[in-house]
Amino acid sequence: MPTTDPRDPPAATRGLGLHVLMTGLSLAMIAPFAWMVLASLKSLAEAGDPAWLPRTYHWSNYADVFRVIPFLRFVANSFVVAGWVTFLQVFTSALAAFSFARLEWPGRDRIFFLYLGTMMLPWLVMLMSNYEIMVHFGLVDSYTGLVLPAVFCSLGTTFSAFGTFLLRQFMLGIPRALDEAAEMDGASKWRIFWDVILPLSRPGLATLAIFTFIGNYQSFFWPLIMMKTVDKYTLPVGLLFFDSEHGQATHLLMAAVTMSVLPLIALFVIVQRQLLRGIQLGAVKG
């Protein structure tokens, strides 16, 4: 360290100003959420009042949301759709990544380049034709039609080629000696995949699963054009429907918005560390 600067504050308060600044910025970031929760507790009469605090707290608004729209259906639909997309994408991507990272076969690198290429396609290009294919097979307004293209095509979220790329990068970091040892013991490629590589790839798999799940939980454009029956809406489309039907009932709308955001916040707190490491894994080499 160089000689202490005479302008330096005494050690006791050093960094305190910085912490106060960060606290202020943090509050600005979460202020909208605070307003959201407070607005969700107002009565109908107060819904149009700009004051932050409700005069009386109406917790029953949350119960009313379930009466006005099939909110629970929307949540369940979102979880089922995002869950299936995540499962199919993570599983098929892990298989493909194993093939690219651990097996030697003629033509492998050429196909991998093809995978890299598809990651650069703007997803809007495949939107219309995917919709037409679903129309052709009569899959519009069905969960199959909603899930399958979302697994294998970027419709505004992650998709199987990205997942394959991410997991391949991860698997390349696993020491080769492990496969070789297993092979000496006479393990088949499938056994090596299932018993050696897959368990060691768990952090990569978890990261991909989080990305995919969140992306599809929030996905809007594709479900909006695919789903025609209100009962089949996912949460984002359902919220838009709520807004257009009952937009004046700000208190109920904010209760619904709160209930949509809270699971995300809870999930984030749980998976935070995994997620932050994953962002670096996926992007730095991208």
Binding site: T23, P106, L121, P122, L124, V237, L276, G286
Partner: protein, 351 residues
């Protein structure tokens, strides 16, 4: 023998790849080719659907010539670029946040005085409530409690709490937060205009105003962009800058500004470059998800971006062929950017 074993290896390798590869062909490569074909036809949902099968006509470049003569297309392209002007602010915000977080993490703060300050904030806001009464005092106490606990948690966690709170808007960003912001911007019942009016401004009608709708969307996007993945990438990159560089600068007596422009900024260049390229590509295709719930593309088309144009043309008026032409125009833009990206990355790698 060797031909047989190579065939075997191909079969095993392909076997693992197959489920994924079939899906990629069916839902990315085939639709890609189909959409290219569509752009040169007169495909229209009204004339080509489950109930009507009129013959498709090849129309050559007609969709594209019509597109370039369509004032709406140019307006929406303009809107798309306008909204992308928010990008540098978002990047600067992410970098600023990452710098602050790094600084907080490196410098240990004395816990005692910090907890003291937190207590003072808490007690002061409680006194405001006692003297001023509800509702203003209640709000003050609420935020005071928030501030005191964030500050205490921030000092004790050495700053990770701030990172979490910064990241929340980006993590939750979606239709729910867009609907929330629509209400924040409400000129009558929203808190933004309430605050602006208290401060003596004449607040705009935000989303209902032709001039203000786009800036309103950009401000909201900025809120979600500051603590986004970009901030996390910057944080990681800052952690990788060799401390020896800074030590050398300190010996030379460099000012903080010199340290930033001569060390930090060049060291972050690859990250910045990645963020800019992905941001531009996302920005070209963006706007619909925000504008649909918040403004419906209005007022008077002022927030209709190219992706919104594709939605309207393809799925409301049903001119899928025309919408595909727009998408392929975007494809060309993105392709040029990706090439540029590769070229620059390569030059960077060569350096």
């Amino acid at each position: 023998m060797s031909a047989r074993s190579s065939r075997r290896r191909w079969l095993v390798g392909m076997g693992f790849l197959l489920p994924n590869f079939i899906g990629l062909c069916a839902f990315t490569l085939v639709p890609l080719a189909l959409s290219f074909g569509m752009a040169f036809t007169d495909w229209d949902i009204l004339r080509h659907n489950v109930f009507r099968h009129e013959a498709l006509h090849f129309v050559g470049f007609e969709n594209f010539t019509r597109l370039f003569g369509d004032p709406q297309f140019w307006r929406d392209l303009g809107n798309t670029f306008f909204l992308m002007l928010g990008l540098p602010f978002g990047i600067a915000g992410s970098l600023g946040a990452a710098l602050l977080l790094t600084r907080v993490g490196r410098r240990r703060c004395a816990v005692g005085p910090a907890l003291g300050v937190a207590t003072v904030i808490f007690v002061a806001s409680g006194l405001v409530l006692l003297r001023g009464g509800m509702p203003g005092g209640g709000l003050c106490l609420l935020f005071g409690t928030f501030a005191a606990s964030v500050l205490a948690a921030g000092v004790l966690s050495n700053g990770t709490v701030y990172r979490t709170l910064f990241y929340l808007p980006s993590f939750t960003s979606g239709v729910a937060t867009f609907v929330l912001w629509k209400n924040l911007y409400n000129p009558h019942s929203g808190p933004i205009n309430l605050a602006l009016a208290r401060l003596g401004f004449d607040p705009p009608n935000w989303l209902g105003d032709y001039e203000w709708a786009k800036p309103a969307l950009m401000i909201m996007a900025l809120w979600a962009a500051i603590g986004s993945n970009n901030m996390i990438l910057y944080l990681a990159a800052l952690g990788n800058v060799s401390p020896e560089l800074y030590e050398a600068a300190d010996i030379d007596g460099a000012s903080p500004g010199q340290r930033f422009w001569n060390i930090t900024w060049p060291q972050l260049a690859p990250t910045t470059f990645f963020i800019v390229v992905t941001g531009v590509i996302a920005g070209l295709q963006g706007g619909f998800e925000m504008a649909r719930p918040m403004t419906g593309g209005g007022p008077a088309g002022s927030t209709t971006t190219l992706s919104y144009f594709i939605f309207t043309e393809g799925f409301e008026t049903g001119r899928l062929a025309y919408a595909s032409a727009v998408a392929w125009f975007l494809f060309v833009l993105v392709f040029i950017l990706s090439l540029l990206n590769f070229r620059l990355l390569k030059r960077h790698a060569d350096d």
